[in-house]
Amino acid sequence: MIVAIDLGTTNSLIGVWRNGAPRLIPNATGDLLTPSAVSMLDSGEIVVGRAARDRLVSHPRRSAAAFKRVMGSNRSLTLGDRDFRPEELSALVLRALKADAEAWLGEPVREAVITVPAYFADAQRKATQAAAELAGLRCERLLNEPTAAALAYGLQENGESRILVVDLGGGTFDVSVLEMFDGVMEVRATAGDNFLGGEDFNQALLAAFMREVGTPAGLPPPADEPPFHGLLRRQIEQLKQRLSQEDTATLSLPWRTGTLCWTVSRAQFNTLCEPLYQRIRQPIERALRDARIHPGELAAVVLAGGATRMPALRRMISLLFRHLPTQHLDPDQVVAMGATVQAGLMMRDAALNERVLTDVAPFTLGVEVADRQSDGHTVHNLFVPVIERNTVIPASRATTLSTLEDGQTTIGLRVFQGESRRARDNILLGELTVHVPRAARGQQSVEVRFTYDTSGLLEVDATALGTGAQYHLLIEGNPGRLSPAEIRQRLAALAHLKISPRDQAENVAALARAERLFEELLGEQRSAVGDWIGEFLAALERGDPRQIGISRALLLQRLDRVEPTSPFD
């Protein structure tokens, strides 16, 4: 059984292809969406999901979220007294999802299709694979998120059509143009921005709040006091969501003796986010240009990702394309549903017999060269593309490089990813030194072959044509990348970690939510919540499962009553 996992910045989902239809699997607390948050309890146990998200407010120093944004880098996050790499935190989320799937399916799960932003670079993809490995899953394929979203929509299409998918998630932004004919779903072009998502809109709001209200009132800057700002961030998120529904919204934050109030209108919000909207427009233009498709030829513009709920974004898209975007599937679930289709394809499910999917390389990949001009000057640091972006994958392309100097004995190959003509403006993926026999310049050459597989992972092979010697580039040892040995070591370390038992998940989540509310509320409500927590803890102490169930239901019912209203939660 191959499961499909949407490992998102804010929320993750797991699903399977079953009986000819996508099926999403609920987690231990009964939700389809599992927040991508990890927290360490005071006892040293690890909790994942909603409980961890609530603990971001109450225990910010022991909790982490949005670690997808630092995937593939060397940054580590500290939970309590232990440092975690982003791969490990993702692995903990994957592990929780896997446990949910195993409980629901009643069989062990080994293989998975995991979605990544199309614009994820090689290091980030490899980090995601490492995370899967750490979670005990074999990652059968990394699927691009907009492609997955398109799969979910494309399944209903049968004739020839072209669609554009805009996927604005919590932390990443992707655009894909797809063409469908005769059961073939072909990605024509992909573009995006790895550092643009719903989080950035929150940041813009937060910065404006601090500028207009916070700093004058003496609020500490965000880095100084994490517990307080955990609360503020949550308020900001709710403010943003309310602005999607209403024309004005007010944020009220308890501070010292009084309450800080900040009213924002939708127009103000749009002005704040204007630079972000501009950044959304550029990738859309580029994807359409690369695909050589005119906006008028598009049958539909599909929105995916929770951040596409923002009305201003939808208005911008409809203005751009002069028709309304499609969004009849839940934007939070569409990527996971599409991923289950891919899982079904890989299991060769009968219902998907007549479907094929082809994807493209999101970046240009190439090598650095120096070139001697005819006037004798040598220009260094030029980037020569080998696999151009939006080439259909799997792809394999080769190029031949020659020596530049007389008597040169080595050719240094530096592999880059990016679009700039100057190599140093692109991202370095790896280096390789090829030895060649001493000869006059231009006499010795090396054939460099790039092979790009369906998961978007690159292999580089070089052959010295003079000697026939073969070289293979191992893109490892870069900062932010785990070697197989390190993965084994980390796996052993993770095995020692105590994971909060799955049957306790509902209790832990209820308790975390109550603790969060205790911090958010004031006055009588706060003390009431404190009492309820005491009662629930007492029930847990006694250990009678039936009693605990009743007590938990009662607690949740009471919490619902005092929860500040938000149209979404």
């Binding site: 073939v184 240009r289 082809t358 005819s374």
Partner: protein
């Protein structure tokens, strides 16, 4: 299947056609029967065939559907150019480009650009071209409008070269030769003299190479003149030997005849041929240098004692 003559049609399993529907259907049918992951090479073969077949089958670029707005834009730009205001036309174009969402709109603007390009100051044109990011990012667009891009690109390059040629003071004479030719016999003589003895020979050859590698150079440079320049540049070494010989013969003749007139003539000749004298002197200096190095080498070998550092300074 691997018969290169029948590619791409044999890989797709159809007769040659221009109908994209047939090509797509054949591609889709074959794609469904293969396992892309298990056999990437087969997929790449099929894909290459498919792309090639579609390229063959691409319809001749039809006249773009006319949009009202675009016509208005074109008319406005034409009016501005007619009124002698190319700057205004460019402003208008830049504004339209900023508002356009690529594709046909951009293509129309490119066509307009071609109309205004000759009227524009070079710097302005370059800035505008950069706005479109033609240098790297828009390969597919360039494919789609290859003709337009090539013309503009070539012209821009040539413009830049001409400007650069004329800016470089030491090659300005050469630039004049390349661009305008040498009309009168006196100019012609001067040109030959400059090409043989003038400085910056390597740079001149570089320019010639660059210009000859550019297909459109014929429009800006006369090919016959390029050949002529290259011929005279190639005669430099020979001329240097002749000059060396001359500069040796003239003083001898002067001493021999004892005539002041001959001496004066020789002095004048030497003055006129500082280039000759310089080139000749360099040859002598180089020859002497080689001799000296050789001598050092031999002496160093003979004199070397154990413990000395081997070799000699190069």
């Amino acid at each position: 299947m691997n018969d290169p003559a029948g590619f791409p049609w044999n890989a797709l399993g159809i007769a040659p056609t221009r109908d994209p529907r047939l090509i797509r259907a054949a591609y889709a049918a074959r794609l469904k029967r293969m396992d892309i992951r298990a056999d990437p090479a087969a997929f790449q073969h099929l894909r290459r065939a498919y792309e090639m077949a579609l390229g063959f089958g691409a319809p001749a670029p039809a006249a773009a559907p006319v949009l009202v707005e675009r016509n208005e834009l074109a008319a406005e730009i034409s009016a501005l150019i007619a009124a002698g205001d190319p700057q205004g036309a460019v402003e208008l174009l830049a504004g339209a480009a900023a508002g356009a969402l690529g594709f046909d709109d951009l293509a129309a603007i490119e066509e307009r650009l071609l109309v205004v390009a000759p009227e524009l100051p070079r710097a302005r044109l370059l800035a505008l071209v950069r706005r479109f990011d033609w240098h790297h990012a828009t390969h597919p667009l360039r494919h789609a409008h290859a003709g337009v891009f090539q013309q503009l690109d070539q012209r821009l390059w040539l413009e830049e070269w001409r400007a650069e040629l004329q800016r470089t003071s030491r090659t300005s004479v050469a630039a004049l030769l390349l661009i305008k030719g040498a009309p009168g016999w006196a100019d012609h003589l001067f040109a030959c003299w400059y090409l043989i003895f003038g400085g910056e020979r390597a740079r001149m050859i570089g320019w010639l190479d660059r210009i000859e590698r550019t297909p459109h150079a014929g429009a800006a440079f006369d090919p016959a003149r390029l050949r002529w320049c290259r011929r005279w540049l190639g005669r430099r070494r020979l001329a240097a030997w002749i000059a060396l010989g001359l500069s040796a013969v003239v003083p001898v003749a002067m001493i021999w005849t004892g005539e002041i007139g001959v001496a004066f003539a020789a002095w004048l000749l030497a003055l006129a041929n500082i280039g000759i004298a310089w080139a000749g002197a360099m040859l002598v200096v180089r020859a002497l240098g080689r001799l000296w190095l050789g001598a050092r080498f031999v002496l160093g070998k003979l004199r070397r004692r154990p413990g000395d550092a081997p070799g000699f300074p190069r």
